[in-house]
């Protein structure tokens, strides 16, 4: 347990805040005939089954769950139903909504719950069921994460928000559409190595360039997927972690920041201040710098978002991300492998599930369980989760327990 003073991010200095002892992920994709509660059960069962000496009914004291939209399933108040479906009634359960950063924000709540000393063991996850809806309906529901009176009302779709950022980045830095396409090509390659990924298909830069336009300069293969899926983690106090597994991973940094809901209100849209700020908090807490990161999962809802993430996280200087990906620095055998899971682009993007799904991948990487996509000797991992057009940013840093 920490004192309030110790928990201030400047004072943590690399001490573990909480530990992941198990991670579970449902299959991502079009899960026909299955709805959120059934999909979440898949993820929770895998997580709970990954712990030893563990009885979920006895040990899990609270559930935090991220879900973006009640529109897909006409259902609010999902937290109690998910708790019921995974057999954990009557523990407290809370849904956290921060658009596509919902479960990244939920993970922070779980960390607070542990680090404050309130609970010893909690579960945290996320879920979204999307594929049963028409694309135009899904487009509308996702756009709800942008500003209704000034953006949605004027026909600015969610892909168009990132199209506006891409055009600005191309204009300011000369970033090429082909360089953005390389993020999709890399992530599809990685997705082929992840059995849970929605897409199991290699693509080429040319295929991305020739795919149909969605919100120019973004084309179909620049966009992440409409997906069903769920993710779940079991989090404990660091000193209890070894009771449940031989291979815990410690959470050593967490950061979150907020910005205007309207993209148009920001002075410069070639970067996301929320990501820079959340990263700064997490790096300081973890006592790490960008060059210490061995593997990262970043929020590639569109290819331009991955490009901007490299710059915001300090993996390269502003304006250099196009060259950075072109030189293969973020490939599986590069300097900082990014989105080894396939990312939102190929693993899939069931929006509420994404934040904790990123943490699941980092857990697998840091515990040597990432199979064919394993990054050798990965010790420090990072997740970068963005809500809306950059109105919420959440960054976490994880460390292998040696």
């Amino acid at each position: 347990m920490y004192t309030v003073e110790q928990l201030k991010w400047q004072n943590v200095k690399g001490r573990p805040l909480a530990s992941i002892v198990a991670a579970g992920l449902s299959k991502f994709g079009k899960l026909e005939g299955k709805y959120s509660r059934e999909i979440f059960l898949e993820a929770a069962r895998e997580a709970f089954g990954g712990c030893s000496n563990f009885d979920p009914k006895r040990d899990v004291k609270a559930l935090f769950v991220g879900q973006m939209s009640e529109s897909f399933e006409h259902q609010t108040h999902v937290a109690p139903s998910l708790t019921d479906w995974v057999g954990l009634l009557p523990i407290p359960a809370t849904r956290i909504e921060a658009a596509c950063a919902s479960s990244g924000a939920a993970l922070r709540c779980a960390i607070f719950a542990i680090a404050s000393g309130m609970y010893d063991i909690v579960a945290v996850g996320g879920v979204e069921k999307m594929t049963h809806r028409a694309t135009s309906d899904a487009t509308e529901y996702l756009a709800m994460a942008s500003d209704f009176p000034m953006e949605q009302w004027h026909g600015i779709t969610f892909p168009a928000m990132f199209g506006l950022m891409a055009t600005a980045h191309m204009h300011k830095y000369g970033t090429a559409e082909e360089q953005m396409a390389m993020a999709a090509v890399k992530n599809h390659h990685n997705g082929c190595l992840n059995p849970k990924a929605q897409m199991q298909r290699e693509i080429t830069v040319r295929q991305v360039m020739e795919s149909r336009p969605i919100a120019w300069p973004l084309k179909l293969l620049d966009c992440s997927l409409i997906s069903d899926g769920a993710s779940c983690l079991v989090i404990t106090k660091p000193e209890l972690a070894k009771r449940f597994t031989d291979t815990p991973a410690d959470i050593v940094g967490t950061g979150q920041a907020s910005d205007t809901i309207g993209l148009y209100e920001r002075d410069d849209i070639t970067f996301m201040e929320v990501a820079r700020s959340a990263a700064k908090q997490a790096y300081e807490m973890a006592n790490k710098k960008p060059s210490d990161i061995d593997v990262a999962e970043v929020h590639d809802c569109f290819t331009i978002a991955e490009i901007i993430a490299y710059e915001d996280l300090g993996f390269c200087a502003p304006g250099e991300a196009g060259k950075f990906i072109e030189e293969g620095e973020t490939g599986l055998d590069g300097r900082i492998p990014v989105n080894t899971s396939g990312g939102l682009k190929a693993k899939g993007h069931p929006v509420g599930a994404t934040g904790t799904a990123q943490a699941c991948e980092i857990y697998l990487q840091l515990t040597g369980q990432a199979e064919r996509r394993q990054v050798e000797d990965a010790s420090i991992g990072l997740t970068h989760n963005v809500g809306g057009s950059g109105s919420t940013g959440v960054v976490h840093i994880f460390k292998r327990r040696d």
Binding site: P149, Q152, H154, I156, T167, H171, W216, T260, L263
Partner: protein, 153 residues
């Protein structure tokens, strides 16, 4: 200088700021009501001079609540744009269409549809505001503005 009809309490200062007291609150609803009158109105913080579009009662830059309506020229330059090919149901019949963020002459930025030939789109394009003729029948009753090409200004 804007003259607001039928608002006896209002007065206009030399800077184009309009004091309408409680009659036109600094809200989105008022902003769109002005759009229905073919007026693009913003607000100016009298403390830090920031232009706020749409208006707000509290300046996000300095925290002041000393804010007054101000009429905007409705001219600006295109900062960035995107061309929408897949839209939500309400807009799907209009695709492809351009949207953008416009740097207004007064300094604030405004997003919206850019109604121009798509091949003319480029950053820096001179634009001016225009208004749709009708008020929508269902909620929200907001008359949309958009941007069209302008000669240099």
């Amino acid at each position: 200088m804007l003259v607001v009809q039928g608002r006896p309490g209002s007065s206009t200062s030399s800077r184009g700021e309009i004091d309408m007291g409680a009659e036109s609150p600094l809200t989105l609803e008022s902003f769109y009501t002005f759009c229905a009158q073919k007026k693009l109105m913003g607000a100016r913080c009298r403390s830090c001079r920031a232009i706020l579009v749409p208006p707000r009662a509290l300046c996000p830059k300095c925290g002041s609540m000393d804010i007054r309506w101000t009429k905007l020229k409705g001219t600006g330059k295109l900062l960035t744009y995107s061309v929408v090919h897949v839209a939500s149901p309400a807009f799907q019949s209009s695709v492809p269409y351009a949207v953008g963020i416009v740097q207004l002459t007064e300094g604030a930025r405004l997003p919206g549809m850019i109604r121009t030939n798509l091949k003319d789109l480029r950053i820096g394009l001179n634009l001016k505001v225009a208004f749709e003729p009708r008020r929508p029948e269902s909620w929200p009753p907001w008359v949309r503005y958009c941007f069209v090409r302008a000669r240099s200004h």
